[in-house]
């Protein structure tokens, strides 16, 4: 199928205005006849559900957590970008647009990014009006700070918990609409499948995680706001429940999955300490302002206490390789440099997968009090987790999976190629290209939910007769039966290995072969091993308990089964993309100095994969990327 991205005509700066002008409207009386199903209640889901309800649509919103306020958007620390230019430092919509396209290593769709930059300013207004307690100056105005990949201060923040505060704002808007009767909320409810009727997404199948009841819900459109797939690696900074199920099920019903190989590895996380480890914890990027990253020069020194390694035996490798950016080199570059040092046998700590982030010099320069004021909460968190004080010895850090830029393919209206199925936030693919800049994820989630979808859903809905399909339709009965059978199947296998043991094995394999650096041989090896592991899963997994009650093992089994399939597509995409860009680094494609080498002649497109019924043979559709405003250049941080 040809991909129509529906990018509006006209100059870049006018596309969104023109599109809004040209979009069809639905009159208020008719809006209430339409039902919209919103899956997920993070920044994208909550803001979309609340705003669509304000407009008059009937909304049903689903989340697997016990409350919509717990969606993983809540864990974002740093901040949210907006082109407000309150600092008078030369920021503008165009500059934010440009930084984001460049930061994405020229693999994002320009028109979407420009719209994102345009609405960024409205997001801040909206959040402040809701009572989000952003940091402020003494004069009462909003404070800003800088983030990676930008030379202006455009990041708004609320202590180290900007994600929680923005989500609580969106959650309050959702609560307002639940109270008014416009939204019906279904917490502890997990989506198991999308229902397609005559080629259109017309509903979903869900499981009530308290009673185990599997149910069907019909609607006139479905919105997936279900986040990223970072947990395919098992260990990541994602919450334990984050999963690919909703987007993967939609993919198997016809929605294209775009650029799954674009995964972001964050350089500063607390390293793995043992095989019992369940998740990885991020240490804010801001620490690199005052910390110096190093490893011993000699592999024989890695076992020594850091204080006993003299200055001349230390390799401050980021300062050495990137003298102008030093310890503040971008995420993808810093991550790869840490991996290289550890691959050379110079990594520190258990398993040799760690590098030092050393504050000794800053403490000497500014005093411990100042450093504690700047980073006290992070030092405390580090000590709680590792039992070590970063005031007395260097932190040990290592990169970890953090965010996924790939996702379901969507057009300018945020609709997938499967009519009626819309995809918002991290779950879609469109705005961050091959690498996301810090403080841009929150911006995109809220832009999609508050300002984009309320306009772009109408052009689809006007083509649909409201409530034309009910759950009595045979397709619903069929999907319900399939979901019930699948659930029973997990319980009936009664094998020997736990769900987690499979998830761990899959994660290690994918991390090893399709993590920070990838090559053809490794990816081909992964593609041989994944189907074998999947087969073993389906024959020897054990899921205790019953399907008719709260059963966390059963929930995990469904998610891991989908990761087992998705992992194959992830590796296929990484294998096919014979270039290095952003978070996708193929060791065969680098400059002599080790920097990523893009191939714009052959790979300047988004890869939208189509499910064919055979997991080993997905069909590749290409959306060419045309750059009208930004010129393709090599990213350099030397």
């Amino acid at each position: 199928m040809a991909l129509d991205s529906k990018i509006p005509s006209g100059p870049m700066a006018m596309k969104w205005s023109n599109h809004k002008q040209d979009s069809k409207l639905i009159n208020p009386k008719n809006k209430r006849k339409y039902t919209v199903l919103v899956v997920g209640s993070g920044l994208a889901g909550s803001s979309a559900a609340a705003t669509l309800s304000e407009l008059g649509y009937q909304v049903k919103c689903f989340c697997f957590q016990d409350s919509p306020r717990r969606a993983h958007s809540i864990a974002a620390q740093g901040g949210i970008n907006a082109a407000k230019n309150y600092q008078n430092d030369g920021d503008s919509v165009h500059r934010l647009f440009y930084d984001t396209v460049k930061g994405g290593d020229f693999r994002a769709r320009e028109a979407n990014v420009h719209r994102l930059a345009e609405v960024s300013v409205n997001i801040i207004d909206q959040c402040v009006a809701q009572g989000v307690p952003f940091a402020r100056e003494y004069g009462g105005g909003l404070a800003n700070r800088s983030f990676g990949g930008a030379q202006v201060s455009r990041t708004f923040y609320a202590r180290g918990q900007t994600g929680q505060q923005l989500l609580l704002g969106a959650y309050s808007a959702l609560n307002k609409e639940i109270n008014r009767g416009g939204v019906k909320m279904y917490p502890r409810t997990e989506m198991l499948d999308v229902v397609v009727v005559d080629g259109h997404a017309k509903g979903i199948i869900t499981r009530n995680l308290v009673t185990g009841k599997i149910e069907a819900h019909a609607g006139d459109a479905v919105l997936l706001c279900t986040g990223g797939y970072g947990n395919v690696f098992y260990l990541s900074t994602n919450a334990m429940g984050c999963n690919v199920t909703a987007t993967w099920r939609a993919h198997k019903k016809g929605a294209y999955f775009a650029n799954p190989c674009y995964t972001q590895i964050h350089p500063t996380c607390i390293p793995v300490s043992g095989d019992y480890q369940s998740k990885l914890t991020l240490m804010s990027e801001s620490l690199r302002n005052d910390g110096r990253v190093w490893v011993p020069k000699k592999a024989s020194d890695v076992g020594k206490p850091p204080a006993q390694i003299p200055e001349e035996d230390r390799d401050y490798y980021l300062e050495r390789k990137y003298p102008s950016f030093g310890n503040l080199a971008p995420r993808d570059i810093s991550s790869r440099a840490a991996k290289e040092a550890c691959d050379e046998g110079r990594g520190v700590g258990p398993g040799g997968r760690g590098v030092y982030l050393d504050f000794a010099e800053s403490i000497q320069l500014f005093g411990q009090k100042t450093i504690a004021e700047r980073y006290g909460n992070l030092f405390d968190m580090y000590e709680r987790i590792t039992g070590e004080s970063a005031y007395k010895q260097p932190m040990r850090i290592y990169p970890a999976v953090h965010y996924t830029m790939g996702g379901l393919w969507v057009d300018y209206n945020l609709m997938s190629n499967l009519p009626g199925l819309h995809v918002l936030g991290e779950a879609n693919f469109s705005d961050h290209g091959a690498n996301r800049l810090g403080a841009s994820a929150l911006m995109q989630g809220l832009a999609d939910g508050y300002f984009v979808i309320p306009t772009t859903i109408a052009p689809y809905l006007v083509t649909q007769k409201p409530a034309s399909v009910t759950t009595d339709h045979p397709e619903f009965k069929k999907a319900l039966e399939e979901a019930t059978q699948r659930t029973r199947k997990f319980l009936d296998i009664k094998g020997k290995r736990s769900v987690d043991s499979f998830h761990r094995e899959l994660g290690l394999l994918v991390w090893d072969k399709c993590g920070m650096a990838r090559d053809k041989a490794g990816l081909e090896e992964a593609l041989r091993k994944i189907p074998a592991l999947r087969e073993e899963f389906w024959s020897s997994v054990i899921v205790p308990g019953s399907g008719e009650a709260c059963n966390p093992e059963l929930e995990k089994a469904g998610r891991v089964a989908d990761f087992m399939e998705f992992a194959e597509l992830l590796c296929q995409d990484a294998l096919h993309r014979e270039e290095s860009c952003g978070g996708h680094f193929r060791t065969e494609h680098q400059y002599p100095d080790g920097e990523a080498r893009r191939d714009d002649d052959n790979f300047c497109y988004s890869a939208a994969w189509e499910y064919t019924g055979d997991l080993s043979k997905p069909n590749l559709n290409k959306e060419p990327l045309n750059f009208e405003e930004v010129h393709l250049t090599v990213r350099s941080y030397k």
């Binding site: 304000e54 993983h72 207004d125 609560n175 307002k176 919450a239 019992y276 508050y450």
Partner: protein
């Protein structure tokens, strides 16, 4: 890293049935593991023996989502101050320790399974009035509303509440006053929250009472248990805001009340 041998007394319960403590031996637990990772290890062993693992709520495992909810040795979130269960690590325990693990207990938090409880009451209190009524797109420029740094910082202190329910579990009356006062207090102390301050306060407090939470008798166990160190001074503020709103309402009469409670 050393290994710990522990004796667990874990609450097991199915929905709608009565529960009991189960003795579970937890041997060779790495002291670097988090408390929830200890539970993961225990569960893997139960599964290997063909038994049902212990159900517990958890998600972000970095102390911000508010999903984890265990009472450990009688203290919600366990012995470490200002720390959620997921951030508590086993090095805080000694080999040979007996650890009692219970759900967050309160009439308003019915048990779903084992350590998993239903905290939907918190959502319903928020739905009753925990918001500023502002339509998307109708907001003025963000810097058109100037808010002094002290006021903004205080609102942020209240907003740090993660809605876990430890305050309720810690209270001998199972009162939700610390939670409700933090949520109402954040909005009631900001200029954006002034126009509907009274109706918000009344609606949230009334919903709280309807959910079956107990009354506050100022023992401040809630503040001691709160992983985000929310101050009980917010309870003082809520009492004041409620008194003002209730008095105003009694002057305005029944008609306004009907609207306020809709």
């Amino acid at each position: 890293m050393s290994l710990l041998n522990l004796q667990l007394k874990v609450w097991r319960q199915n929905r709608g049935q009565s529960g009991h403590f189960q003795d579970i031996e937890a041997k060779d637990i790495p002291d670097h593991a988090s408390f929830l990772e200890m539970m993961d290890i225990v569960n893997e062993r139960l599964i290997a023996k063909g038994e049902e693992p212990v159900a517990f709520d958890h998600d972000c495992r970095e102390g911000i989502c508010g999903m984890c909810s265990m009472t450990i040795n009688g203290v919600p979130h366990g012995p470490e101050k200002a720390t959620t269960t997921c951030q508590l690590h086993m090095r805080k325990f000694r080999t040979g320790d007996t650890i009692w693990i219970e759900p967050f207990r309160a009439t308003a938090f019915p048990v779903i399974k084992d350590l998993v409880v239903d905290r939907g009451a918190f959502d319903r209190i928020q739905q009753a009035g925990g918001f500023v009524t502002v339509r998307t797109g109708s907001a003025p420029d963000a810097n058109a509303i100037l808010i002094g740094k002290e006021v903004a910082d205080a609102a942020m202190d209240a907003a740090a509440c993660i809605g876990c329910g430890a305050c309720v579990a810690a209270c001998k009356n199972a009162s939700a006053m610390l939670f409700v006062s933090a949520k109402a207090g954040q909005l009631n102390s900001l200029p954006q929250g002034q126009p509907e301050k009274d109706r918000r306060t009344l609606a949230m407090v009334r919903q709280m009472d309807k959910e079956g939470f107990g009354n506050c008798t100022n023992h401040y166990e809630c503040e001691a248990a709160c992983p985000k160190e929310i101050s009980v001074r917010w309870i003082t503020k809520l009492n004041r805001d409620y008194a003002v709103a209730a008095v105003k309402e009694s002057f305005v009469g029944q008609q306004e009340r009907a609207e306020g409670g809709e």
